[in-house]
Amino acid sequence: MDAVEYLDLLLKSLLLAGVYAAMAVGMTVIYGVMKIVNLAHAGFLMLGAYFALEMFQRFHVDPILGSVLALPVFFLFGMAVHWLLIRWLPKSDTPTLASLLLMFGFWLVLQNIAYLIWGNEDQSILTPLTLSSVQIGQISIPKVNLVVFAAAVFCMAVLQIVFHRSWFGRSMRALIQNPYAAQIVGVDDQKTARLTFGLGAAFAGFAGGLLGMLFSFSPDFGRPFLLRSFVIIVLGGLESVSGVALGAILLAILETFGINIPLPVYWHGWSFHYLPPSYQQVIPFALLVVVLLILPKGLSSLFNRKWKAA
């Protein structure tokens, strides 16, 4: 492999990381504020893809715009789900079995509703963007990847501003970092939780639409991405949008390079072999196990030791 190919792979993984980050950030804020592992995230991702598809097929809305439109729609949907289901869960500082089961059950419900409506065949969103690509030197990049990346990064930047410049953003961070202190200054944890769940669902729907432009999907769509979200959260920690971005970049690079460069194998002496592409799914799993063993508090624990004092 020569340098151009490496550069090509690197670029492709960075472009993928944009969507990955948008996909994981929703789950991160929900976990941070409510300590709920949102297994239904996969369902929201899947619905987001179908939302973009329906908008495209019925109303000829460009799927990028459709994904952005998913933000407000899924925000309201998420708030409704919180109001109907999640607010009844007992409060806890750690994930509870009740919340896991509730979210898992809700995912199954979403999935089966999707089977009823759309059946089980694979769908994909094809636009003129899908087949054309941009040529930079010897590297060619599909336009759709570029556009998806730009949309993801833009929305993440907006989220970052909301996180740091608005009272709602501050109240979310306050609840993540010290819920007791948040209550002392009068943060309404129920209201913030409702808005946060809406925000998490909004980003899931948005990321689902973007992923639907890159991959074909069925009602079972979210499953592998749910796992990737876990890995990104574990890598990036809960404190910041930038942590999520870092985790996403790392995962995307490892996934892309893992099956594209020969790995050293010891079998009667050293030799190099390619990992079969079907093993790509194994990489996030393996990464999750390794990270949990070595850095159970995520990458940020490497940088933020000093926070422990507080």
Binding site: W167, S171, A174, A181, Q183, V185, G186, A309
Partner: protein, 254 residues
């Protein structure tokens, strides 16, 4: 006591707690605790670890529910109000161990003291006021609170508590874990704040200092108030001298 006299006495009480009983699960920690805080004065609670001082403050702040007893703020019953509604009524708690948000800047920590919508217009003048009181915080306003020294963190916590211009400021162990020089500094700040007319309810293990800057004090032991009186009286009390000003002070627990 004559009736009219009792009435005037009631009026300058900003907070009255009557027979508070609080439990953590099955363990009862407050057994009929009654105390009051006089407007414009510093009232303190002293006592050893686990006596129920922090629990009392948390109950006043609404973080814990009293299963019996009443809390009156300016004569209004606030026993069943949420912490949020008590903040709204200008009660402010500076909790034990500072409880800042380590990953938020000093300025954001302070701003959160004005989180409630009714306080937000006061947020920016409030910042200037706090920076006037604690110039060190102004220098470090963009620094993460988790990177501050212990004393600076305490200043930040007190600053946050003052942001909403509270009518009652509760300070829980403001000198805990600080170097002696910083302890002097913190108590000086508290005295200054008190001089500006802020009503303070102070809990401290540094009994000597705490009594010196207070006007009235309560002694708590195992969930009950065992002694109360003016601070001069407490400082001369044989039991207080022996238990808190003598031996106990040299072996502070934790």
């Amino acid at each position: 006591m004559a009736e009219p006299q009792a009435e005037t006495k009631q009026n300058d009480k900003i907070l009255v707690a009557e027979g508070l009983e609080v439990s953590y699960g099955a363990t009862q920690v407050l057994w009929g605790v009654s105390f009051s805080v006089t407007r414009g004065k510093v009232t303190c609670m002293i006592g050893s670890n686990g006596a129920g001082k922090t629990t009392s403050l948390n109950t006043v702040a609404g973080m814990l529910r009293a299963k019996n007893g009443r809390l009156l703020l300016n004569g209004d019953d606030i026993t069943s109000l949420s912490p949020r509604d008590r903040v709204r009524r200008h009660i402010s708690l500076v909790p034990e161990g500072r409880q800042l948000w380590p990953g938020m800047s000093v300025e954001e920590n302070l701003l959160m003291g004005c989180f409630l919508r009714q306080f937000r217009p006061k947020a920016h003048p409030g910042l200037e006021r706090i920076y006037g009181l604690f110039p060190r915080l102004k220098e470090r306003r963009h620094q993460m609170a988790g990177t501050l020294s212990g004393g600076e963190q305490q200043m930040c916590a007190i600053g946050r508590g003052l942001m909403s211009e509270p009518q009652l400021l509760m300070l829980d162990e403001p000198s805990l874990g600080l170097a002696p020089r910083l302890v002097d500094e913190i108590f000086e700040f508290i005295t200054n704040i008190a001089r500006q007319g802020v009503t303070i309810l102070l809990v401290g293990q540094n009994v000597n200092y705490t009594l010196q800057i207070s006007h009235y004090g309560y002694v708590m032991e195992t969930g009950r108030i065992t002694l109360e009186g003016s601070t001069e009286m407490l400082m001369n009390n044989e039991f207080v001298r022996r238990a808190y000003l003598g031996i106990a002070e040299e072996t502070p627990s934790k």
